[in-house]
Subunit: 247 residues, 2 copies
């Protein structure tokens, strides 16, 4: 039987989502718990994609196969939650057709990135990027619009990445300003797919635009260049959240 | 010279504010850094009061004596922040008269308590009490009003506390509901002074009222009883924040 689950996690104590031989990862923790439920026989989970160390997820998705006809998905969810660390939470489990794949069937993903332009906040240090200076928010908002559409995003990928196709579509971007403090902004990116470091490289470039080091229109040239060195720095992981995966 | 500082901290990794022979505390960390700045000679800080393990502070206040005429309070603040862990942050330092005392001169304190009535949130598990069920918010709001005023709060203190005077004044209370989710509420308490566990014992009682186990008017009887066993459980520390100290 194939199960499909939605889960959230605080990435601050993990070396990323994906299983690694060394270091605590989200996948490791969930697979360990599932293996226990499965009487010691290994269970592998297949997520919509990885998230890097320090990055959070509000609604990550994964599928796995398990022969558990005697327990309902709801009971399986409760059992799993009782076995995994408290900074991961399984929100929902359902049964899906055997050919459903959490990664290949994903149609779009939404990421958000939180930036604090106000005073350093020790309580949110692992959850909001502490930029702690003013940014030109209107200029960032203009730049965001140049990222929308179908482009070759090679300039925004991990430098040593070697892919056949760097074309992705960013369907929608948004900038939301917290109206209570005005000092916090959240950038959102809805797209058909994101390559490794792509969101953080876009955000790093947007921050340099907000600092006045670049103009918003430079986004056009950076995309055209298809060259990682033309874009800005990789923004810190702690501001990034995988918000949703659409199927 | 007497310095007076405002600081914030994430209490989740500390055994409370107050210095202890064993275990990491906020006071220990700041005193260690000040002692380093003072060339190895011990410096003691005197806060407005303690906070317990897991409790946070947005604007805790403390004074300390130091002979540092050659550096400005602003430079001292930067130096301190560079030496303390990143989950504590000194927001402001100023020079005050030698007879100023952060504890004795405090006129009022404000505490807030955050409760999540919605789904468990692994990202906020150390920052918002995960109650994760609906509460009767209107009944809690009514109960809050019975706490306002000058009362003997013995029923809400730590059971084994032996004080001469349990009379305190709660000047104002509030219940703020997050209008975006409706599932998060913040209770606030502004008062002339709070005894140990007092806010958490009031919140624990308010939660039982919100669960329908008690009526809001029972607050009157609980106060009258002057008996810890008449009030509710002590609410978890992670929802509690020392928001401000007024002088």
């Amino acid at each position: 039987m194939r199960y499909f689950m939605t889960f959230a996690y605080d990435g601050s104590k993990y070396k990323g989502y994906q299983k690694q031989p060394k270091g605590k990862t989200v996948q490791n923790e969930i697979e360990k718990a599932l293996t226990t439920i499965n009487g010691g026989e290994a269970v592998s989970i297949h997520a919509s994609g990885r998230t890097d160390a320090g990055v959070h997820a509000l609604n990550q998705k994964a599928h796995f196969d398990l022969d558990m006809k005697h327990i309902t998905p709801e009971k399986l969810k409760d059992g799993l939650n009782s076995l995994i660390p408290k900074d991961i939470y399984i929100k929902h489990i359902e049964i899906v057709p055997d050919d459903f794949h959490a990664r290949y069937n994903a149609k779009a993903k939404e990421y958000i990135y939180k930036i604090n332009m106000g005073e350093y906040d020790p309580i949110e240090k692992d959850y909001v990027y502490q930029y702690n200076k003013k940014l030109d928010v209107a200029e960032i908002e203009r730049a965001l619009k140049y990222l929308e559409g179908t482009h070759n995003f090679k300039s925004f990928t991990k430098g040593d990445e070697d892919k056949e196709d760097y074309t992705r579509t960013i369907v929608q971007t948004n900038l939301i300003r917290n109206m209570k403090t005005l000092n916090k902004i959240t950038l959102s990116f809805l797209g058909t797919g994101f390559m490794r470091y792509m969101v953080r490289n876009m955000v790093g470039t947007l921050i340099e635009i907000g600092e006045g080091k670049r103009k918003s229109e430079e986004i056009i040239d950076i995309i055209k260049a298809e060259d990682r060195t033309k874009a800005g720095k990789t923004a810190n992981p702690e501001g990034l959240y995988l918000k949703d995966v659409l199927y």
